[in-house]
Symmetry: C2
Subunit: 165 residues, 2 copies
C-alpha cells in the first residue's frame, strides 16, 4: 500500500489567503516546509472575494443597497484582492526560489470556492490558516478550515498564527 | 513578520498512528513530503492505548469485568501496540533514509494524549489521519483530528486515505 514512491516534485499546493496575518503565516510556513529547493511544484495562491453585492442587492435584513453603495463595495472588494495578493507576493518574494506561482481569485462562499478549486485543480495539498473569514461567521458556522479539512480529498494543513498561542 | 528564515531542519514531527490504514498513509505522506534528504528532523511515532480496564473495571453500562477479561483486554492492548508500531516501522523502513525516529506509547483519551504530547515535546508539526479511533466514537464526539486541529499550537496536517475519495 504505502510503498517507497519517489517524492512527487511537481505537486500543486494551494494556499488559501485572506486578509488575516494568519493566512500570510500559513503561506510562509508552506514555502519553508513544503517547497524543497529542487522542486517543480506550483504554488497556487487562492483568494476568495465575497459574493458580489451586484448580484444580491438585498442584504440579510432585506435592505436594498443603492447603486452607489454597491459600486463602493465592489471597488472595496477589488482593492482588497489587490492588497491581499500584494502581501502574499511580498511573503513569496522573501524566499529566494524559483517556485512557479499561479494566482486565482474566486468569488462566493469561501469554504465552497476553496473546496471546489482544490478538486478542480486536483491539488496535492491545501494549506490554510485556522481562522480568518470573520469572527462572527466562524463562531456561528464553524471555521472555514474545519469545513475544508472535512471536504477536500487531499491532505490539508491547518496553520495557526504563533501570536494566538 | 514572515521573513525568509532558513528552513528548520531539526524539527520534531509527530505522527499519530493507530490501527487504521489511513494513519499508515498519513505516515507515508509525511515521510515523502516533510522529510528532506538532508534533514535532521526527528520523526516521532505516537500511539495511544485506550485507558486500561484495570483502572476502570466498570464499562459504560455498569457491568463489571472479571479479572480474566481485564487481563485478556490488557494483553490484547499490548499486542495492538506492537502490531501498530511494527506496521509503522515497515512504512518507515520503505524510505531509504537516515531519519531519526522515536516511539511513544501513550495511554488515555486519544485526543488529550495527542495534544498533550505535542505540547510537551514542543513539536513543530502534527500529522494524522482524518478518521481512526472508531466510527461510533467519531460520529458521537467528533473526530480526534478535528479536536487536535483546534487545540494544538503547531501546524496540523490532516491526511485522508485515497480509498475514501
Amino acid at each position: 500500500m504505502e510503498g517507497a514512491k519517489p517524492i512527487k516534485r511537481d505537486s500543486k499546493i494551494v494556499v488559501a489567503v485572506d486578509e488575516s496575518e494568519e493566512s500570510m503565516f500559513a503561506l510562509s510556513w508552506c514555502l519553508k516546509t513544503l517547497f524543497a529547493e529542487d522542486t517543480n511544484s506550483t504554488l497556487i495562491l487562492l483568494y476568495v472575494k465575497p459574493q458580489s453585492p451586484v448580484h444580491s442587492t438585498y442584504d440579510a435584513a432585506g435592505y436594498m443597497f443603492s447603486s452607489d453603495v454597491v459600486a463602493t463595495m465592489e471597488k472595496y472588494g477589488n482593492e482588497l484582492v489587490h492588497s491581499v495578493m500584494e502581501r502574499a507576493e511580498a511573503v513569496y518574494n522573501n524566499f529566494d526560489s524559483h517556485i512557479k506561482i499561479q494566482r486565482i481569485v474566486g468569488r462566493g462562499e469561501a469554504k465552497d470556492v476553496i473546496c471546489n478549486t482544490v478538486e478542480k485543480l486536483k491539488a496535492d495539498t491545501l494549506v490554510m490558516g485556522s481562522h480568518g473569514y470573520g469572527f462572527f461567521k466562524r463562531a456561528l458556522l464553524g471555521s472555514v478550515s474545519d469545513y475544508c479539512a472535512k471536504h477536500v480529498k487531499c491532505p490539508v494543513v491547518i496553520v495557526k498564527h504563533p501570536a494566538r498561542n
